[in-house]
Subunit: 354 residues, 2 copies
């Protein structure tokens, strides 16, 4: 007898991440990872557990208090204004479940993080994308329309473009009936954070990640800052999905990282310096490159096709990101690596252009 | 202007976990944690990262290959039959999303893991609970009814009762139109695993956890074994929710644990020996105690109220679990700790009974 159980399986198109490779020689500029290691303070956590790992037999603190307190202190808010999760993907997915319960469509830019439509599909949330303009700029007035919620990355990805705080205020003030999420995954590389605005606007949630500016993509730590009511709702959803999502090691590693402000600034500044230099070099090579407030550059070449450049670099074991999607199918997203990695990429491009 | 954004917030009742405490003197027998530390092999992972934690700047392997391969080898299946997640709560929540997409109610016992109704509420899945009998036994024929899916823990919690594999076969064979999930969180302490049956029944999924028998509650590792089709669907849902849910450390710690079979068996056998001794002592004290195939005992006293015993023990800094819910509100769930912890609990009970 052939069962009909297959009829109950979900039908969904998943997110496709940047290519992975185990090749040690490859130059990986396709996942917006940080080229510098995490804070050396992180090692102390591992030294402690190398001495004694008995504590792992117990469940982690489900309120993630040590990490929340460290973040609250760093960002000048209270513990009850902080939510932490397994990467900002987890934080944003839970936020979609928590805040986007309406029959009206949620709004986000047409060119943006490609996980948003996937979450909408998974959680069955109606959505409408708002086109960015021909320069990939987002305009606040396009969001003065009825909606069930708004999410905008600032800086946006993969465009790298950052909007000023006035833009966020404009959006929030025109949308008192919606929760507005500002996804600040890249804000540390040059954007202006809206965290302070969450003290004034109870319907504003700001999300950030430890994966980029804190070099901890491998550890899966993200957080949100918002009003006590938004955070309490997020906690309820988390406790209805997986109470202990943050493991004990991630909590301690995250705490060690947040507490090392000096190292954090040093790494971020190195990435910014490399970015600006490489941007100038790409422009000199004939690229049009957006002004970036992130740890990547968004570029298109006047003569050569993005796809061909992408494929040529791949033969040289240099991986950058190419999106075969409308409007940006002649653009490249290039993560900022170490100076010598970027030099090799520039050299390979020059070879290709000869 | 007062915004209406609150109308879009989710309304839901979260799962309530066992009480936590930071008191080092407390005897914690309320969360079914293992009293023994994880495998000593786990420390080698931390030693490695204490030397060099640079790798954490990169995203983890999103396919979790090292851990899947270790589990596949241990359980005699292929990599494509294994799914891993952030604790079995994550694995089961994703399974609800992946497999329970029907208008018909899913079925599970009325007395069981209290997270199931919470997930149904979060993911909007209709459900119907099937009463266990007056001895808390589950009967397969009660599940010969139309449904959108079935989940049964075996052994069941908090009853500690285990059913033989014939019961699982009976359920699966009578439900060819549904995915059947057997939640084996406690199976290592005396149950018979249905993993081998997944080779025959494509609609059977078995879930397990590293939190109990492998002493890694703090690390958040769970897994599922099933047909390639079920596992591929789970992977799609995971990649639509959070592609990198397993952090790099959890993947390596889990692998080290699975590969140390000898230590695993030694710990499980110690817990079982303590459980059997304590069960006899509780019976001698006037308790009715179910035959347990788990790392906890489910007990009711002929004369004294469960709630009062629970509260008395708390004053002695001994935490066991009491559920103030219908049918089991005169029962206690007692996790198996070290022998000396159990002796203190028995001594405290004797004090109370004098």
């Amino acid at each position: 007898m052939q069962g009909k159980w297959r009829e109950n399986l979900i039908k969904i198109k998943p997110y496709v991440a940047g290519e992975q490779s185990n090749d040690k020689d490859m130059i990986k500029l396709n996942a917006n990872e940080n080229p510098y290691p995490p804070s050396p303070q992180v090692k102390k956590v591992f030294e402690k557990y190398a001495q004694n790992s008995d504590g792992l037999k117990k469940y982690p603190n489900s309120d993630s208090i040590i990490l929340k307190d460290a973040i609250a202190q760093r960002y000048n808010v209270n513990r009850n204004n902080v939510f932490v999760g397994n990467g900002s993907d987890d934080v944003i997915a839970l936020s979609f479940m928590a805040f986007f319960n309406s029959d009206k469509p949620i709004l986000y830019p047409d060119i943006t993080y490609s996980f948003y439509p996937v979450w909408c599909s998974l959680i069955k949330i109606p959505y409408k994308t708002i086109p960015v303009d021909e320069n990939f700029e987002i305009h606040a007035e396009d969001y003065y329309t009825e909606n069930g919620g708004i999410i905008i990355p600032n800086p946006n990805a993969p465009t790298s473009i950052c909007k000023p705080l006035d833009f966020v205020i404009d959006i929030v003030e025109h949308n008192p009936d919606s929760v507005v999420i500002i996804d600040e995954a890249y804000v540390d590389f040059g954007g202006e954070s809206a965290v302070e605005l969450t003290k004034k606007y109870e319907n504003l949630l700001v999300t950030q990640t430890f994966s980029k500016s804190r070099s901890l993509a491998g550890m899966r730590i993200g957080f949100a800052i918002g009003s006590e009511e938004l955070i309490a709702t997020l906690e309820t959803v988390k406790n209805s999905y997986n109470s202990y999502v943050m493991d004990s090691i991630a909590l301690e590693v995250g705490t060690a990282s947040v507490n090392d402000e000096e190292y954090f600034k040093e790494c971020v500044n190195k990435v910014i310096a490399t970015r600006e230099r490489v941007r100038d070099e790409l422009i000199a090579l004939g690229f049009d490159v957006k002004k970036s407030a992130t740890n990547f550059l968004f570029a298109t070449h006047k003569e050569y096709s993005a796809k061909e450049i992408f494929e040529y670099l791949k033969t040289k074991k240099i991986f950058i990101r190419y999106f075969n999607v409308p409007r940006i199918d002649n653009y490249l997203r290039i993560s900022i690596g170490r100076d010598e990695e970027m030099d090799k990429m520039i050299a390979a491009m020059k070879e290709f252009f000869i």
